[in-house]
């Protein structure tokens, strides 16, 4: 990113930073995505959110994105991100912001709690950019899901077509639940697969 001292560009950067703070981004994201100094960002952060930013390292590994529910949330975000990337010409960070806003909307429209933070979403895009994660189409439904690179596409089945045994049993509010009725197991899961192959 070119160091630009123009006031207009600074105004844009502040606006961007404010949007990110509202979405709950960690300070590290702001530092990396704007040219504003650490001190100014810190002041901005306190002014906008009314509290000091969380300290410490960003706690991320790629493994988080591989667990069942986070994978679904993150895949929804990344599909939206890719969509915007294809159709709109935006700066990288703006694509993340807009895709994340759309993700939040979609999740709340379905009565769920967002699991993916904007910081994680941002990291996810970086992971994909440098090849630590990728998207692989599911061999059953054709949807693109986040996987480790070199996943064998022919055999890959997403967590929604074949949920792992313990998936969806959590009772946390706003989390994805798979069938509260006990009997469904095999029968209901065979059903969507039939639909998928028929399509």
């Amino acid at each position: 990113m070119a160091r630009n001292k123009s006031i207009l560009s600074e105004a844009r950067q502040i606006e961007r930073a404010v949007t990110l703070i509202h979405l709950g981004a960690r300070l590290q994201v702001l530092e990396s995505e704007t040219d504003l100094s650490y001190e100014r960002l810190l002041r901005l952060y306190k002014e906008v959110s009314g509290r000091s930013p969380s300290k410490g390292q960003l706690p991320f590994s790629t493994d988080w994105f591989m667990t069942w529910q986070p994978n679904i949330h993150a895949s929804l975000f990344l599909n939206t991100h890719e969509y915007l990337n294809k159709v709109a010409e935006l700066d990288e960070i703006d694509t993340v912001i807009k895709a994340y806003q759309l993700y939040l909307e979609q999740i709340s429209a379905q009565g769920l709690e967002p699991m993916l933070s904007v910081t994680r979403a941002w990291r996810l895009v970086k992971f994909v950019d440098n090849g630590m994660l990728t998207m692989t189409p599911c061999s059953k439904c054709g949807g693109h899901f986040i996987t480790h690179p070199h996943e064998i596409a022919r055999h890959y089945v997403c967590g929604l077509c074949e949920p792992p045994a313990r998936a969806g049993k959590g009772k946390a509010a706003g989390s994805l639940q798979l069938h509260s009725e006990p009997r469904i197991d095999a029968a209901s899961r065979a059903e969507p697969r039939k639909a998928a192959t028929a399509a």
Partner: protein, 143 residues
């Protein structure tokens, strides 16, 4: 004419308040038992739907163009055209015997997920999320 169940009489009734007569009109639609529409009705409803669509599309495009591309599933060029429409142009385009917007999930897979076909309501949240992921992945239609 006046007592026909189709309710043409309603339109003949003098009304000063356009809005309330429109309201009565829509109310009537909900209460009515399914009956074939006359061709004037079809044209009127298509124009109504087209106008609503164009107005919504235009305000989405004007408030956030990039997100509108995602929401509407249209290309950059189409967004430019719709965004630049004047009201008069909109009226003109909306009038016709075809709808301007089209269905975005014309495949069994997404459709079954959205309607939770073949499963209980328990998995509905998961199915809808699944459908969202599939639909968000389809940018080739827009670009």
């Amino acid at each position: 004419m006046r007592d026909c169940s189709d309710g043409n009489g309603l339109m003949l009734r003098p009304s000063l308040n356009l809005y309330s007569s429109f309201h009565a009109e829509t109310q009537r639609h909900f209460n009515r038992k399914p009956a074939a529409m006359t061709s004037e009705q079809i044209l009127a409803e298509i124009r109504e739907a087209n106008l609503s669509y164009l107005m919504l599309a235009q305000s989405l495009i004007r408030s956030d163009r990039d997100q509108a591309l995602f929401r509407l599933g249209i290309s950059e060029e189409t967004a430019g055209l719709i965004g630049a429409l004047t009201s008069a142009q909109m009226m003109k385009i909306a009038t016709g015997n075809t709808l301007l917007c089209r269905f975005r999930m014309d495949d069994d897979l997404v459709w079954n997920l959205l309607t939770s076909h073949g499963k209980g309501a328990a998995n509905e949240g998961v199915s809808r999320l699944h459908a969202s992921i599939l639909m968000a992945g389809r940018h080739q239609e827009a670009a």
